[in-house]
C-alpha cells in the first residue's frame, strides 16, 4: 500500500505537483495519466524516492519513506522507463543481473530464463548489447530487469512510449497478461488513455497541472466527468480507446 498526502514539488516557481493526495492499494494496477507536464512522471519519481517532495509525506506499507532503509526500499520496487534505461556498456544479461549485484544477492538458477519466457524475450538476445536490440526487445529486457528481484511494486514510466504501433500493441497484450498473472502492485505512467483503459481499467488517475482532476474506473470517468477538462481529454482519444478496448458506451 502506497500513501501520498499533500505532496507538493516545485521546480523553480513552477509547481509540478500541487498538494496531491493519493492512496494506491495492494495488488492492483493504477494508471497515472494526463497531458505532458501534468506531473505524472514527477509523481512516480517521488514515490520511489528519486526526487524528494518539498511538502507532504509518502508512506509505503505504513512506514514513511524517510524511515526506510534505502537499499531495502529499492529492493521492493521494480522500475522501468521509456527508453528502457539499459546500460550500454553491459549486455542484456549483465543489465538484468545488476540489481542482484547491487543488493549482493544471488539469483536462483533459471530465474532469468523464467522471466524471459514470461515477458516473451527471446533468450538468444541475452548476450547482446543494448545497441544491438530493437526498441521492443530493449523494453522487454528492462521489464525483466525490473522484475528480477521479485519486487512487490512495479513502477513503469511510459514503458511503451518510444515504440512503433505494432510492437506497442504486442507489448500491451503481454503486459496485460503479465499484470494479471503476477498480481503485483503496478503504477503505470502513460499519456495514452487507450493504454490506461486497457491495462488499468479499474483505476485511472487523471492529472492536470500538478493536481488530480479525477480518479476512478474508465467507465466512471467517461460517464461522470468531474470537470470539462476530463471530457475533452477523453473525447480527444475516444477512437483509439474504442480500437483497443472495444466500443465505448
Amino acid at each position: 500500500m502506497i500513501e501520498l498526502s499533500r505532496i507538493t514539488k516545485r521546480f523553480g516557481s513552477h509547481a509540478a505537483l500541487d498538494g496531491v493526495d493519493l492512496s494506491i492499494p495492494k495488488a492492483t494496477t493504477t494508471a497515472l495519466i494526463g497531458p505532458s507536464g501534468c506531473g505524472k512522471s514527477t509523481l512516480l519519481r517521488v514515490i520511489i524516492g528519486l526526487i524528494e517532495a518539498d511538502e507532504g509525506e509518502v508512506t509505503i506499507e505504513g512506514r514513511p519513506l524517510a524511515a526506510w532503509n534505502q537499499r531495502e526500499l529499492r529492493q521492493r520496487f521494480g522500475y522501468a522507463i521509456q527508453s528502457g534505461g539499459l546500460f550500454p556498456h553491459l549486455t542484456a544479461r549483465q543489465n538484468i543481473e545488476l540489481p542482484a549485484r547491487a543488493h549482493r544477492c544471488a539469483l536462483k538458477p533459471g530465474r532469468i530464463a523464467e522471466l524471459a519466457e514470461l515477458t516473451h524475450l527471446d533468450p538468444s538476445l541475452l548476450d547482446r548489447f543494448s545497441a544491438e536490440l530493437s526498441g521492443g526487445q530493449r523494453q522487454r529486457v528492462a521489464l525483466v530487469r525490473a522484475l528480477v528481484l521479485d519486487p512487490d511494486i512495479l513502477l513503469l514510466d511510459e514503458p511503451l512510449g518510444a515504440l512503433d504501433p505494432m510492437v506497442r500493441a504486442d507489448l500491451q497484450r503481454d503486459l496485460k497478461s503479465l499484470f494479471d498473472e503476477l498480481n503485483k502492485t503496478v503504477v503505470l505512467v502513460t499519456h495514452d488513455l487507450a493504454e490506461a483503459a486497457y491495462l488499468a481499467p479499474a483505476d485511472i488517475v487523471l492529472l492536470r497541472e500538478g493536481r488530480i482532476a479525477q480518479r476512478g474506473a474508465f467507465a466512471h470517468l467517461r460517464a461522470e466527468p468531474a470537470e470539462p477538462f476530463v471530457t475533452s481529454f477523453i473525447e480527444a482519444q475516444t477512437e483509439r480507446v474504442a480500437a483497443l478496448v472495444g466500443a465505448v458506451p
Binding site: L50, Q70, G85, F87, P88
Partner: protein, 493 residues
C-alpha cells in the same frame, strides 16, 4: 614495481667498479674538456659519466651539491658571476673563497677564453671600428649577445656602462650568433676568444681598451673532499693544468664545430677529447663507443621514465580529483580553475620556477610534467562523468546502486572513453613537453636537442627531435589500441 626498481639498482651497483660523475657546460669547448676529464678519471681506474649543464650557475650548484666531482670553469666567470658578491680580484682570493665552499681549482689549463666583442671584417673596415668604445658613435648598429651574457655580472650591463654604449641589444643563442652575423641580421655579438669561427669567418675582434673583461683562465673546478675520497682520480684530473694553450684549444673547437683537416667533417666532442688525451698524456682512450642506436636507446629509456612516472602520478591524482569535481559542484570550480591555471604557465617557465625548490634533474622535470598533465585528465574525467545521460543515472539510482558501487559498475565504465581521451591528450603533450627536460639536465630526448642548439649541430638536434616525434605518434597509437582493449564493446557499437 618497487621490486623491479630494487633489481635495477642492485644490477647497476653489482658492476662493482666505482662510478664518478663529471660535469661540463653544454657548449663545445666545455663539452670537449668534460670528455677529457672523463677519460682522465677513467685512467685512474673508475667508471666515469659526463653530465651536461645548460649554464654556469646550474653546473656550479651541481658541484656544490656533490652531484658531480668536477667540471671545467673559467676564473672570470667565478669572480664576476658565480661569486660576484665577494668582489674577488686575484686568483689567490678566489682560491680562498672556493676553499670556504669546500671547492678548489686546478692550475690554469693554459688558455684564456675571454669574452670579446666581434663584428664582421666588412663592418669594421666600413666604419673604422677598432675598439669596443668605437661602437658608441654608431648607435644604429644592431647588437645581439648570448642569453647568458645579457644578464651576467661580467656581461652586457657592465659593458654598456663602462663604454657608455647607447646601442640597444637583444639576446640570442650563442651558436646562432655566427650565422646571424654572416647573414647581416646582426652587426656585433659577444665571442669567446677561443671560438673556432673567429678565424674561419675572419671576424674583427674589437679591442677592450678599458680592460672591462677579466681573464677567463680555464681551470678544473673540483670538490676538496675528492682529495680524501679518491686521490688517484684527483691527481689524474689535475694533469689538465697547463696542458692546453690557446692555439691548441682553438684547433680542438674548430675540429668539433667546423670539421677537421682533410674534409674530415665535424667530429663529436667526445672523439676530439679522446684524441687529445691520447696525444697529450699517452692514454689509450676511445671515445665512448656509443653508437647512434645505443644513444637513442638510452635517451628513450630516460624519456619513458620522465613520461611514464609523471603520467602515472598525474593519473593517480587527477582521476580522484575529477571524480570529486563531478560529484560536488562547489569543488569543481576551484579544481578546474587551479589545474587550468597550471596549464597556462608556459612549460619552460614552470620548469625554471621549480628549479628553485627542487634543483635540476629528472625529479624536477617529472613534477613539472605531472602538473602539466593534470588538466586534460581532470577535465575529461569531470566531463565524462557529468555527461552521462540523466535517465541512466536515474536507472542506476532506482536499481539501488549507490556510492562507489555506482561509480565502479556504471559511471566509470560509461565515462571511460572520455577519460581515456583525456589521458591520451596528456600523454602525447607530455612526450613533447618532456624534451624541455634537456634544459635542466633531466635526460631524455631533450638533451641532444638542447646540446645541438648550443653547439649549432643540426644532426644532434635531429637525434632528439625525430625519436621524440616518433614516440608521440607511438603513444597515440598505443592509446588507440588500449581504447579498443578496455572500452566495453557495447560503447563502441
Amino acid at each position: 614495481m618497487i621490486r623491479w626498481l630494487l633489481v635495477i639498482v642492485l644490477a647497476a651497483s653489482a658492476a662493482g667498479q666505482e662510478r664518478v660523475v663529471v660535469g661540463s657546460k653544454s657548449f663545445t669547448e666545455s663539452a670537449i674538456l668534460g670528455h677529457m676529464l672523463v677519460a682522465l678519471a677513467e685512467d685512474a681506474g673508475v667508471k666515469a659519466d659526463l653530465k651536461s649543464f645548460p649554464g654556469s650557475s646550474v653546473a656550479f650548484a651541481a658541484l656544490r651539491a656533490s652531484e658531480i666531482i668536477a667540471y671545467p670553469e673559467y676564473t672570470g666567470t667565478l669572480k664576476r658571476e658565480l661569486l660576484a658578491e665577494l668582489g674577488l680580484e686575484t686568483d689567490d682570493e678566489l682560491r680562498d673563497a672556493l676553499a670556504k665552499l669546500g671547492l678548489a681549482m686546478s692550475e690554469p689549463i693554459g688558455f684564456n677564453n675571454t669574452y670579446a666583442v666581434g663584428v664582421t671584417r666588412a663592418t669594421a673596415d666600413r666604419l673604422s671600428l677598432q675598439t669596443i668604445g668605437d661602437l658608441a658613435s654608431h648607435p644604429d648598429l644592431r647588437l645581439a649577445f648570448s642569453n647568458e651574457f645579457m644578464n651576467r655580472g661580467d656581461g652586457w650591463p657592465g659593458l654598456r656602462d663602462t663604454y657608455g654604449l647607447p646601442n640597444p641589444a637583444r639576446g640570442i643563442e650563442h651558436a646562432l650568433s655566427y650565422p646571424a652575423l654572416a647573414q647581416g641580421q646582426i652587426d656585433a655579438t659577444d665571442l669567446y676568444s677561443t671560438d673556432a669561427q673567429i678565424a674561419a669567418m675572419g671576424l674583427a675582434v674589437l679591442e677592450d681598451d678599458r680592460g672591462y673583461f677579466p681573464r677567463y683562465d680555464a681551470v678544473v673546478l673540483y670538490r676538496l673532499d675528492l682529495a680524501e675520497r679518491n686521490p688517484a682520480v684527483l691527481a689524474s684530473l689535475l694533469k689538465l693544468g697547463g696542458a692546453i694553450d690557446e692555439a691548441r684549444m682553438r684547433s680542438y673547437n674548430e675540429r668539433a664545430e667546423l670539421g677537421g683537416p682533410n674534409d674530415e667533417g665535424r667530429v663529436p666532442p667526445a672523439v676530439v677529447a679522446a684524441d687529445a688525451v691520447n696525444e697529450l698524456f699517452g692514454l689509450e682512450a676511445e671515445a665512448s663507443s656509443s653508437t647512434l642506436a645505443s644513444r637513442v636507446l638510452l635517451r628513450t629509456r630516460q624519456h619513458l621514465v620522465l613520461v611514464g612516472v609523471s603520467m602515472g602520478i598525474a593519473i593517480a591524482i587527477a582521476l580522484p580529483l575529477g571524480v570529486v569535481a563531478a560529484r560536488s559542484r562547489a569543488f569543481a570550480g576551484p579544481v578546474l580553475g587551479i589545474t587550468g591555471v597550471l596549464q597556462t604557465v608556459p612549460a619552460l617557465a614552470l620548469l625554471v620556477l621549480l628549479i628553485g625548490p627542487l634543483g635540476i634533474g629528472a625529479p624536477t622535470a617529472i613534477v613539472a610534467l605531472l602538473l602539466y598533465s593534470l588538466l586534460p585528465i581532470v577535465r575529461n574525467t569531470h566531463a565524462g562523468l557529468t555527461g552521462i545521460a540523466g535517465d541512466l543515472v536515474e536507472s542506476a539510482d532506482a536499481i539501488g546502486l549507490a556510492g562507489l558501487d555506482r561509480l565502479r559498475r556504471v559511471e566509470l565504465p560509461l565515462a571511460l572513453p572520455t577519460i581515456l581521451a583525456g589521458i591520451k591528450i596528456a600523454a602525447v603533450i607530455n612526450v613533447g613537453t618532456a624534451t624541455l627536460g634537456g634544459f635542466i639536465s633531466a635526460g631524455g630526448y631533450g638533451q641532444p636537442i638542447f646540446t645541438g642548439i648550443t653547439q649549432n649541430n643540426f644532426a644532434l638536434i635531429l637525434e632528439g627531435a625525430v625519436p621524440a616525434a616518433a614516440m608521440a605518434v607511438l603513444v597515440q597509437l598505443a592509446f588507440d589500441g588500449l581504447e579498443r582493449l578496455v572500452v566495453p564493446r557495447g560503447l563502441r557499437l
